[in-house]
Amino acid sequence: MIAIKVDNLVKNYGEIEAVKKISFTVEKNSFFAFLGPNGAGKSTTINIISTLLNHDDGDISVLDNIVGKNDSEIRSKIGVVFQNSMLDDLLTVKENLIVRASFYSIDKLRLLKRIEEINEYLEINSFLNQRYGELSGGQRRKADIARALINWPEILILDEPTTGLDPKSRKDIWELIDKLRKEKEVTIFLTTHYMEEVLDANKVVIIDEGVIVAQGSSEELRLKYSKDRVKIIPNNNLEKILKEDKIDYYIMNDTINITVDGCFKGIDIVEKYREHIREFEILRGDMDDVFLNITGRKLVSE
């Protein structure tokens, strides 16, 4: 079952070609990650899928409804967490939720039950009666997500939900997404710049400058585009020996790094130079390398 189908989507902002003929599908009840650097076109795509923004060309369907035709069907079935906070600063979280719940014809009684349910996932009870504008960054994000869950959407769309958050709040949001996936039938569509956030995804689509540059499961992408490596703290002139043996390596934070095809090749290297090695680690190629290897650029510039 397909939840979202995007076919040859094109979006221009005047001269700027933000999205250039991209196509992908999102399986129902899967965890889909849309990965790309700043300005790649992630928010643009999300806004088109969630019926906010008109597109110039291409066909999009969401839960078998066509974007641009059955928009209100779509709206009733999705929940969107925007990149920027969009609740009202001067209202409490609860007041915000009451207003939004009315959009889905959720009456007060059902809403209170709903808030209880959402609280199981998000722990929002402690700040329900606090004004949204007075919340911490992490609390605000949770309130945003609570708002997106208010209609128990079939598709939950999150645009960079963790950007700018502290590690603890990030972890909370990760756990929430995990729990939702386990306990609810919901399709999760997430955008991010962080490779580590897409590791659990069923499917990752990498977008760069409005073009899809790679797609697959995170494992597939990792195998295809990144290499494992051995990280060594040498105890004597290993560098010189490596040079003599014509083995490529690079130095990072005073460690010697050698990329290898698979971790067993790594063990061979460790065996061979055993007496020159003080400590070593064999590291699996990580998702950060994937983007670097595809585009020649780092995903998040330091």
Binding site: T51, L52, L91, S102, S105
Partner: protein, 291 residues
């Protein structure tokens, strides 16, 4: 219905909880009042005494005149400030949060209008009560029930007209910055447009013509005639008709376009037509663009 109710309540809360906004919507009123208390009031009183002699009730006349003017000013500035929520919602993206929800967009648009009517009315009423107290302490009398009802009716119509106008304008304003510039411009000119800083009768014919086709003149003239009735009866009881005619022309108790004098029905229709025009323009604009 519940959606509309919830949205209106939300807009009202947002307005009322932001003290700066509430203050700002009365800023012009406060400035006008201060100017009157400091010198404009005295100048007007002196000038009237010079013309008509020191007749009884002049303070009442002057204070009722200014309070009627202030009412019109607040029917302009309060709805404008309340509509600021729309611009804020657009500029910080809250409107997108509404737009991804399955709500009727006409209802969303209407919610901003209705909020500006309700808050406008409550705030202007509050303004009216204070004005009555001011007039009372300046030797005047409180208005009776029927004039109060008439007055509030005109106030309501005035609010509906101006919020329809500003609603249309705000469909073109993208940033809160542009909106606050609009607020400043309106706040600055409204005292002139209402013929409050300078009585309309001493301005040139062309300026008078422009002012008189605007609903500010219609609103303020209707309000003055109701508000000042008691004072006029006292002040002009013993004077020849020409004296009152001159006063009424100079101080904007009548609206003439060219040689044609508008009666109350014309004035009411002027405001209604103004409201309807901008309402229709807004509907047209919204039918092919977002809020």
């Amino acid at each position: 219905m519940t959606i509309l109710f919830q949205l209106v309540r939300r807009n009202m809360r947002i307005y009322l909880r932001d003290r700066a906004t509430v203050f700002f919507s009365f800023l012009s009123v406060i400035i006008i009042l201060l100017l009157y208390i400091l010198f404009l009031g005295e100048m007007q009183t002196d000038s009237l005494i010079q013309h008509f002699g020191d007749i009884e009730g002049i303070d009442w006349l002057v204070s009722a005149w200014i309070m009627a003017g202030i009412l019109t000013v607040s029917t302009v500035t309060v709805p404008l400030t309340v509509l600021g929520t729309l611009i804020q919602d657009r500029s910080n993206g809250t409107i997108n949060d509404f737009y991804v929800s399955p709500i009727n967009r006409k209802i969303l648009a209407l919610s901003y209008l209705i909020s500006s009517w309700i808050i406008g009315f409550v705030m202007v009423f509050f303004n009216f009560v204070i004005g009555q107290i001011y007039v009372y302490f300046n030797g005047g009398e409180f208005l009776h029930f029927i004039p109060i009802m008439q007055l509030l009716g005109v106030v309501m119509l005035s609010i509906v007209s101006f919020s329809s106008f500003f609603f249309y304008i705000s469909l073109f304003i993208k940033t809160t910055n542009a909106f606050s510039i609009l607020g400043t411009i309106v706040g600055t000119f409204i005292g002139f447009l209402g013929g409050i800083y300078i009585p309309i009768g001493i301005l040139s014919d062309n300026v008078q013509f422009v002012m008189n086709i605007l609903p500010t003149a219609h609103s303020v003239t209707l309000l003055r005639n109701i508000y000042m009735k008691g004072a006029i009866d006292v002040v002009f009881s013993g004077t020849p008709d020409e004296v009152f005619d001159t006063y009424s022309m100079i101080y904007g108790l009548e609206v003439n376009i060219g040689d044609f004098g508008l009666n109350n029905i014309h004035l009411l229709f002027g405001m209604i037509i103004f409201a309807v025009i901008f309402y229709i323009l807004s509907v047209i604009k919204l039918s092919n663009s977002k809020l």
